[in-house]
Subunit: 279 residues, 3 copies
């Protein structure tokens, strides 16, 4: 189990600063099939970052639409049978057209219906899987890599990310993808490399769907066409640094949310260089 | 028709302060089947309060999910046929598993479809019904307790809560539940006791879905396992006091919304003790 | 191709001030069938303006509901087959009952499914069509008025409004309706008159669904019963002036959003008189 190795903090900071600017320049079109709770904030996260979000899910049009997208993001929150069908159609089309896609397995492990849906989605080979520790554990179980149940409480994590480092690496190797588990410390791995990121604020857990917004943000970085591991590390780093900036101005979760979106709009390489904490 | 009786203002304030802390300690898991307009704000209200919201509605999973929930909240806004079916399945399961559930009969009286859906839901015995005065009147009519039509204008109330005190009490006795009608003055009754609460700000009517958020907040208090009447009185009291706090900082509805969610996050027993107004 | 002619800036400002007050007085009930991304902000825009929004779409109830509405607004974002059916039923009912309706053809030109849906809706004769330049171009193509494809990128415009002035006028004459294309400069035409409005902030494109919110706002003004061209000019003028006011206080898209909704709540004739810029 190799670790960060030569990837130093400063290299990550520089890469992150470059990709933040890259999103603003390229304006990647990110198609999202996301839950109803997150629609507003996920779109606003992407707009603040400089990307172009499009919430398009109907099976009648998403295969036609996804071809022009730079990335597709699929999120299993507020799941329904038509929603699961929409995800199946869109991820199939994304794979056909070589569009990278990112999976946010909200509620993995919570019900059989979630698990069945996520199992099917995994067959379409996401480039990145981003969840909390319990969700990553549950996905690893669905992939046959552990017997342990993720057992989230509702949609919240019952585990620390440090508990799933090994499983996340196994899952990444098994799926030939990047896996990110976020929490107090975020981890990102492609099965070989593993980075720990330690920025962010506890208030981020008090604003609904900020995790879903993060997965959309990962989609924007992946949509730049860089290696998904690098894209994911940079997206998580930038997002958490924006969380640090916002926390300094917040009186509670709602003023935090406002300051956070504003911070995603203004954040640049110098903010990351000054604040990034690698675990 | 008995009134507040021995329940003094100070007793309500003390109880409210204790339950605000109780929600933060217990982090009740509140499953919500709510309308699309309210998804974001209802989840944020619950998170700010310290509860764990989960917007889970699919009939494929909600019976499995609701067993672990501390309370279920059902809201008939943006109603659809699949939505009505989801509510039917979830409330049936809640009743089977002894999970208390709270009904927000948005738009009761507005169309036959709403009324038919609400009629069916009433059979599953909500622990609490929370609506505006016109909605409570309409529900009382659906229960055969009055001929008077609620006749709301859109989703707004055409009545004052003082006009429905008697009907709310009848409805509470008829349904063996707690009934709350909110407006300039909020009333809560279990058919025997009746409390009037007079905090809050007119700006609360200028932010969409704050009523839906309140019903979610009631769900969190009910999820603590205390008597639903006490839980509802305390939830309404805390919510309206947070409204008072927010109004002091607001320049309009959006800055009010931000300050309000922040206030729900910080409010404690001393705020309630200092500000509560019982009618 | 006649232009503004006698409609001077001061006349537009005076009319706008009067209609802003008119919405607050009349509280028009605006039924919206809008996309999931815009539900929250569109409802909050209408509430801040003093109107009464109602997000009602189920075919089981919308024909019954729309009869009491002052206007109906239909938006094709996050389109689905059930959604398209809901729009068909509601616009048919609106036409039957003489309720004016406003079309926001989100994503026109992006997929065949969008285009087919919008084609069907056009048969029910909207009073106003409000979109970005690419969407207006795409709708004109659907109406057989041009061969040029709108070709939006995702849901963003690939054109300036100055490029579609002629087409917008043709479309207005063809559909006997008012057409508004919004962008850096907004244009409004009824086929005979054409007004250019030059207020607003670039931050308006960084907040999701502000365009959808604008279409709802147009619905409130149309719901006053004045001529749709006049209503649309005034709604666009007031909205963009509120954007100017908000931009002066914003640090980014989220603080802009808050200030913008607050500005819609407080804006009056004197703000418009002082700030309106007619192109």
């Amino acid at each position: 189990m190799e670790e960060t190795g030569k990837t130093t903090r400063d290299e990550i900071a520089a890469q992150t600063g470059a990709l933040i600017a890259g999103v603003r320049d390229a304006r990647p079109l990110v198609q999202m099939i996301t839950n109803y709770v997150s629609m507003d904030i996920a779109a606003n996260v992407l707009l603040a970052a400089g990307a172009a979000p499009a919430m398009v899910f109907a099976p009648e049009e998403s295969p036609e639409f996804v071809r022009r997208a730079s990335a597709l993001v699929v999120n299993t929150g507020t799941l329904s049978a038509p929603g699961a069908q929409a995800m199946e159609v869109a991820t199939t089309a994304a794979r056909t057209h070589g569009v990278p896609w990112v999976l946010d397995p909200v509620g993995a492990g919570a019900t059989k219906f979630r698990d069945d849906t996520i199992c099917k989605l995994l067959r379409h080979r996401p480039a990145v899987i981003r969840g909390n520790a319990s969700e990553i554990m549950a996905v690893a179980r669905l992939a046959g890599l552990t017997q342990e149940a993720g057992a989230p409480r509702g949609v919240d994590s019952a585990h620390e990310t440090s508990q799933v480092e090994g499983l996340a690496q196994k899952l990444a190797r098994h799926g030939l993808c990047t896996v990110a588990a976020t929490g107090d410390v975020d981890i990102v791995t492609d099965g070989r490399r593993l980075v720990r990121l330690a920025n962010g604020s506890p208030l981020m857990t008090k604003v609904t769907a900020l995790g879903c917004g993060l997965t959309g943000y990962v989609g924007a970085f992946v949509g730049l066409g860089v290696d998904p591991f690098t894209a994911t590390v940079s997206a998580l780093a930038a997002y958490a640094v924006a969380g640090d900036i916002a926390a300094e101005q917040a009186k509670g979760p709602a003023s935090f949310r406002t300051a956070f979106i504003d911070a995603l709009y203004t954040i640049d390489a110098s903010d990351v260089a000054a604040r990034l904490r690698v675990g």
